[in-house]
């Protein structure tokens, strides 16, 4: 089983002599060799590879924090380990977006080549007797197929691709980046990026806005990023800005039911009953048999019950 709690940390050798016989699926367009040498190093105490790996990733993104300061947030003494969910939540609490990379070597190599160290979960044991370990991938050497990591007491572990692949895959190829709001990692997907920023909204609204803007610049047609922008603006009290963001979205994606619903709700809140009813009717027609349908029905009932404001300036 893939532990929700990661137990005692394992140990990576400084160097292993594993053969490079199995060829790693390198992305075609990454440099042959990468080492993010400015990534900080925190030799871990005892079992605390979680706090150490997190401090390493946060430090690389410009957040200076000691592993000891993170222990209370991510370390569970009874299990001598750190929850994956807590690793992500603590990243967000410290002002960074926890971007879960796609569970592929391609995504890992692209992220590192793009300058982002990646926190990875490894299983250094076997599936039935796991030894969980967090480390930070800081580079690779394509020739000889080596993966470079900050790990435990080892500042620069140089692991054969083969050994790394086994340990990483036994941990479900789990990994994340502590992302500075406003930067988009190389090799990211719009859906995973939007999901990561959505989780960050409550922690840092201005940061989430910057992240959504950067995402929309990269993926102009991704509706979730514009929806997120509108939601953060609305939460900040900027309803006009939110409405504009939704109209931008709908100009590109007229069938987006969530955006229609939210535009209808904003119109209704400022007294534009007829415009709101028109929008929610379109939302309903696009949301049939989707998980959003009951939410949109509820919005429609509320809009219907809300009186129009004759003084409102409506579209």
């Amino acid at each position: 089983m893939l532990a929700l709690l990661v137990g005692a940390c394992g140990h990576l050798p400084r160097e292993d002599s594993g053969p490079g016989a199995t060829s790693a699926p390198w992305p075609a367009d990454v440099p042959p060799r990468i080492e993010l040498t400015r990534t900080p190093f925190f030799p871990q105490d005892d079992h605390q590879c979680g706090p150490a790996a997190l401090a390493t990733a946060l430090g690389a993104s410009g957040i200076s924090v000691q592993p000891a300061e993170l222990v209370g947030e991510v370390y569970v003494p009874a299990r001598k380990g750190s929850l994956q969910a807590e690793m992500l939540a603590t990243t967000r609490r410290r002002g960074r977006i926890a971007y879960r990379i796609e569970p592929t070597f391609d995504a890992l190599a692209r992220a590192v080549a793009g300058g982002e160290p990646v926190v990875v979960l490894l299983n250094l044991g076997v599936r039935s007797w796991p030894i969980w370990h967090y480390a930070v991938v800081i580079g690779y050497e394509r020739e000889g197929e080596k993966i470079l990591l900050r790990s435990g007491r080892t500042e620069r572990a140089r692991l054969s691709w083969r050994r790394f692949r086994g340990a990483w895959s036994r941990a479900g190829n789990w990994g994340f980046i502590a992302l500075t709001p406003g930067t988009v990692p190389a090799g990211a997907t719009a859906a995973a990026y939007a999901a990561a920023v959505a989780d960050f909204e409550r922690d840092d609204r201005p940061g989430a806005l910057r992240a959504y803007a950067a995402g929309s610049a990269r993926w102009p047609d991704e509706p979730l990023l514009r929806l997120g922008t509108a939601n953060v603006l609305s939460a900040q009290g900027d309803r006009a800005g939110a409405e504009q963001a939704l109209r931008d979205l709908l100009a590109r994606r007229p069938a987006d039911a969530a955006a229609r619903n939210n535009l209808a709700e904003l119109l209704s809140q400022r007294g534009c009953r007829d415009a709101a009813l028109a929008q929610i009717a379109i939302a309903k027609s696009h949301a049939r048999a989707t998980p959003l349908a009951p939410l949109i029905e509820a919005t429609a009932r509320e809009i219907d019950a809300r009186p129009a404001d004759p003084a409102a300036s409506c579209p």
């Binding site: 893939l2 999901a195 959505a198």
Partner: protein, 126 residues
């Protein structure tokens, strides 16, 4: 093969649980971004499953076993977000050299469909 498949299903279910989005109650308001993300992911996963169910070889094999592809779709649509995500991922990672519909692949994929959609439980009871 099936045991290890089940083991990995359990593992993935646990892993997905960490990030599972709690279904929002049906209340009127702005649809928050997390809810929209979950709905979008769900739609994409269902489309991935349906694209496999729609393939003639799979549909035929399911029909041979007395399961209509339509009922398989309905059962898939009734899965939780996490279950559906696992199902779609498992289908995509199914073995048999890239094309899951090589001969062994069809059997495997159909077993997977039966397992995930709960039809296999019916077989056990017979």
């Amino acid at each position: 093969m099936i045991m290890s498949f089940r083991g990995s299903v359990v593992a993935l279910t646990l892993a997905a649980f960490v990030t599972a989005v709690v279904p929002a109650p049906a209340r009127a308001a702005l649809i928050d971004t997390n809810t929209a993300v979950a709905a979008t992911q769900r739609a994409a996963n269902l489309a991935r499953v349906d694209s496999v169910l729609a393939r003639a070889e799979v549909a035929q094999r399911l029909t041979d076993l007395g399961v209509s592809p339509q009922s398989a779709h309905e059962r898939a649509a009734a899965l939780t977000d996490a279950e559906l995500a696992n199902f779609a991922t498992q289908l995509e990672n199914a073995p048999a050299g890239g094309d899951i519909l090589a001969v062994i692949g069809i059997v495997f994929v159909v077993l997977m469909i039966l397992e995930f959609t709960g039809v296999i439980d019916i077989f056990k009871k017979v």
